[in-house]
Symmetry: C3
Subunit: 464 residues, 3 copies
């Protein structure tokens, strides 16, 4: 097996089967049902309709749509990397959730020597999965599926530890996960991409653009994320009015950031036209910005203002900060996660701290002490810095692992190119241009397989 | 700033920021939480799981999918106006909901000097938003985003007043909103398009067709609308069996109109083939037709017949009425809203009146007086005429406003063309045709932005 | 009317209107509301929020997404048969559900001389519809919409009888429907395709490939099926912990089969690249494999192993069995339903029998007797063989009916080609190649219709 080959033939199955064996063994030893899924614990006093599955499953399903369809479509924006964006998202998310069930299980659902499993664990695992997918955004198109699985393998435990520290020890109120999820994911992803720096990509890459169709598909992903974001931000809040407020604020924040994004897109473009990249990304900023205070009594107007602020920071980041980071700091942040998750996450954190400092019994009544098990963290800022450090260092170390040989890392030339890892069908126009009958060059079986060889375009190292 | 320039650089941000300031000021002065979202009003007797959010949010989310994804994809059917259809729908819907929260808030949720906000307000606002989007269908491809925002700004209050009159004073039973929503939206949209008449478009336009991909995307939108339409029609009915019936009838009505649409599409086409435009639009007619009587005891068979009738009227409208309206009455109804929402809305109204006239305690039992707070409106017809007049006049006046200068109205030549308002990526085949390397003509930054200039295709007035 | 014409002009409307009249008459005579939808049966003790609609509707809506959007997109993978895949799925599913409401109604919801209707009937009808759509997969691209409606007309009653025997008499525990739905559908579909054998298609067909866009759309369909599959597998289980387990196991099974599918796709491809056909189909195998035991206490680890096993069988089937079946046994299984539903269904059945044999009061507690109204079926295997026979024979007989004249069966040449049954828009590149202005060759009306004639490509028999 050649060290730098990008053939997945041996690498991917070996890694996947190893991970699967690991997961199966750990599941069979450690994972059992929780109180709500164990038949043995139900008796004739159990009210089946009071099972927590009816509270949790709707939110779980909504977040599944965000993870697999929202992210999947959003990441399919590159001209010839639609398969990669959508399908590697599918693969990475699937493994990340499996793995997070174990990792978070040990931290949060472990007692009597077992991890106890219900749909609530899956929701938590989806949050960990979102972290991995956000980080993935920084290195989209520059990593092999093997590298992505390794990244998920390493990022989930680092996140799990951090989450455990934050939730159990610092007791930060962070309903929408703006601090934990978005900031962690952002700095981890930046750490990884810092190490995976490819100088030649700063000159631009022939496959790095979009097409009409890929832009539409990506906007479709944005819309799925937009529509279901309230479910994401409220899934783990307290039930009742807290969850109700979380839904309202997320909707209002997104709504404000969407209007603002259109205005700024037109304002900052050279020719007074809208850019689809802004519609795809910047519209979503409000969902992150309201996150840390999403269940508090911040008032609808403040949620609106937070959406506008987050959007503005995100937009300016895309326009002025990202090019600077790429050229000066070796941070090639492919999807601009520093803008959509980093800058907005910082604003969200500040807003969250203010909301806690301003919280009073006058506004919340007796439920004040239920919503916040503690009061304003004096030491908020330094701890935030620590979180950033932990995640960035974790990202850097992960990046170093991803640089090891045998991980099928794509060459610069085949970045953003589905040809490298997929059997890509010939397109209609190409097919009709070639005068020879279609079937002769295609191995057609009785189903939809179409395996074609375009040897002239293949990377030399494919053969293994 | 040139009067007729179509550059959005100044126009769009100025309008959006003005609207945002207006909204923020009004939200901060007038909008507060309602009983279900205010932490202060919860106490130790509050059952969190009885919060109304659990009744309302699932329907809210379903309707969000319809508004942002269903409408968005459906309106993306034009060959080169997919961005416009999907993205202007996004922009317009976002603002319309923000604005409707205020307008409807003053009419329906205002007490103690404040508008009280919960997810139920958002559902109502989505209905107002649907009105705007239906009207948008009449002028799709012929209006700038600036004009669309102005249209939403004017249509929502006119609708708000009408809704208030109908619901509070006439007490019409109109669960699915066929009378209020579909008829109002239709005649308003026709009023607008009457004023925005462009004679040259009657000769056809080179960009007015569809492509294979755009037709598929549009059908996808239809399917989302189709699947979630029961949620739309039942969201505001009484809970319990009324809502249950509304779901059944909507499903059956849509189902009947779908079969009928396929039959009529084949029957009325010259070559015995199906037309995708029929599949995209006419299949949905049943959802409107059952609307006004959707929660009554009309029986499943009658729901089926209503679906067939609505579909037939809609189909004949597309085939014979729309061309006539366009050529003789200056009504260029781009998506045929008069067929899908007007004719079907009229049938629905008649069916609703019949259902009320036939309602008896024998069929409904004691719940008769709960479902209908009144009995059959003798004066039904003249009032319906008034509704149509109000909305048509509102549309005409709005159309006149949209003809004011500085609103970036597209020239005839650039109707149905994304080039006017978007930075459109070069397509693959075009890109490969140009022999020079891709990156030289593209300003590639470290993320997905792709700004290209195709000056020969630009309208002259873009520079501002 | 020519016997072998493929024009739908007379055939489709005649059949559809006949079916509609049949359905309307039967609905008006036999179908009424059930206890939960009948206003007359509610009184002042009725708790509206306890109406079963709130238990059933969320699952109904999820399965609607699977049926109309998931299947619709998944089946749109062919290069030039996207309309056919998505739209014939729409048509066939719509009729199948209408029809199943009647057929299953007579078997399961008939008392007092009437079929009693609620959302629960719709969920059952969706299951029957899924059966038809799976069978459709075997003959995709080789059948006219007329033939598909006839197939649904015949398959639903055969399924209804079988279901009635299995559920009422054999009392098999089959929560996810792996035995009933997947196995029945598979063998029925194979029976049909056996009769509709077209020798020339074994040589490959020029339209049988995919494109970049069609592959992406198809993966999108897969993702919708994947995300909502837990709702499918749990919709008809007992409420409470049974349903909770069904969701967990389905998720875990799918998750395991997805990872395995990626590994095997790379391992078994000649050049070490992933195949989109595998991503579209094989990833879903786990959802079927866990089906028969999905609500039992099989443990998360076993659900994982079942997902891996099902995926492996499915993958090997695609790779080695399907080509053999096509060439030797005249079984041209277009979408490989024998792999995705047959082989996996068999594994699921075996797993289900084992789970029942191993079930003990020690694991389940008193709920053992609730979950299983009987104990392990000794005669499991022979009965399974009977089920396969019934469905295969039903399929063969249906296939013979579909070979009758006047059903618009496509010629070999026009298989997998939307030109035959749709007015297909010219694509952009084709349009720009033809130098004449676009509007001259298009009959443009005031809405989106675009009727074009490309006579040189039309089948000779279109004219009727």
């Amino acid at each position: 097996m050649k060290k730098n080959s990008t053939s997945l033939r041996v690498r991917l199955p070996v890694l996947v089967f190893a991970l699967e064996v690991l997961v199966v063994v750990l599941y069979s030893v450690f994972v059992t049902y929780d109180d709500q899924t164990n038949a043995l614990l139900q008796n004739n006093k159990t009210q089946p309709l009071e099972n927590t599955v009816y509270q949790d499953y709707p939110f779980f399903a909504d977040i599944q749509v965000m993870i697999f369809i929202g992210f999947g479509c959003l990441l399919a924006f590159f001209r010839r990397y639609g398969f990669g964006g959508m399908v590697f998202n599918f693969l990475t998310a699937t493994f990340a959730i499996q793995w997070a069930i174990l990792v978070q299980g040990f931290f949060h659902f472990y007692y009597d020597g077992q991890i106890h499993l219900g749909v609530i664990n899956l929701i938590n695992a989806e949050f960990a999965c979102a972290v991995v997918l956000i980080s993935f955004g920084a290195v989209l198109g520059k990593t092999s599926p093997v590298q992505l699985l390794v990244m998920a393998l390493l990022e989930v435990p680092v996140f799990g530890v951090t989450e455990w520290i934050v939730v159990e020890h610092l007791k930060i109120n962070d309903a929408g996960g703006s601090i934990l999820i978005h900031l962690f994911a952002c700095y981890f992803g930046l750490g990884v991409t810092f190490i995976l720096y490819r100088p030649s990509l700063n000159e631009g890459h022939s496959k790095e653009g979009t097409t009409y169709q890929s832009d539409l598909l990506s906007v479709l992903g944005t819309l799925f994320l937009w529509v279901f974001w309230p479910s994401f931000n409220c899934a783990l809040t307290l039930r009742g009015d807290d969850q109700h407020r979380a839904i309202l604020h997320t909707f209002i924040g997104l709504s404000a950031s969407t209007l603002t994004a259109f205005a700024l897109s037109a304002l900052l473009s050279k020719n007074g036209k809208l850019s689809m990249a802004d519609v795809q990304n910047v519209t979503l900023a409000g969902g992150v910005t309201v996150g840390a205070s999403v269940d508090m009594m911040i008032s609808p107007a403040v949620a609106y203002v937070l959406g506008m602020l987050g959007c503005t920071a995100c937009m300016l980041g895309y326009k002025y900060l990202s090019p600077f980071l790429a050229r000066r700091l070796r941070l090639q942040d492919q999807c601009g996660i520093h803008n959509l998750h980093g800058l907005t996450g910082l604003i969200s954190t500040i807003a969250g701290i203010c909301a806690i400092l301003l919280a009073s019994e006058e506004t919340y009544g007796p439920s004040l002490y239920q919503t916040f098990s503690y009061r304003a963290p004096q030491q908020g800022d330094p701890q935030l810095g620590e979180l950033q450090n932990i995640s960035a260092v974790g990202g850097v170390l992960t990046g170093l692992v991803l640089k090891l040989p045998y991980l099928a890392s794509p060459t610069d030339e085949f970045c953003f190119d589905d040809e490298l890892f997929f059997n890509v069908p010939l397109d209609e126009d190409q097919a009709s241009e070639s005068q020879e009958p279609r079937c002769s060059e295609t191995q057609i079986t009785n189903h939809q397989y179409i395996l074609q060889s375009k040897p002239q375009q293949q990377p030399a190292e494919t053969a293994e």
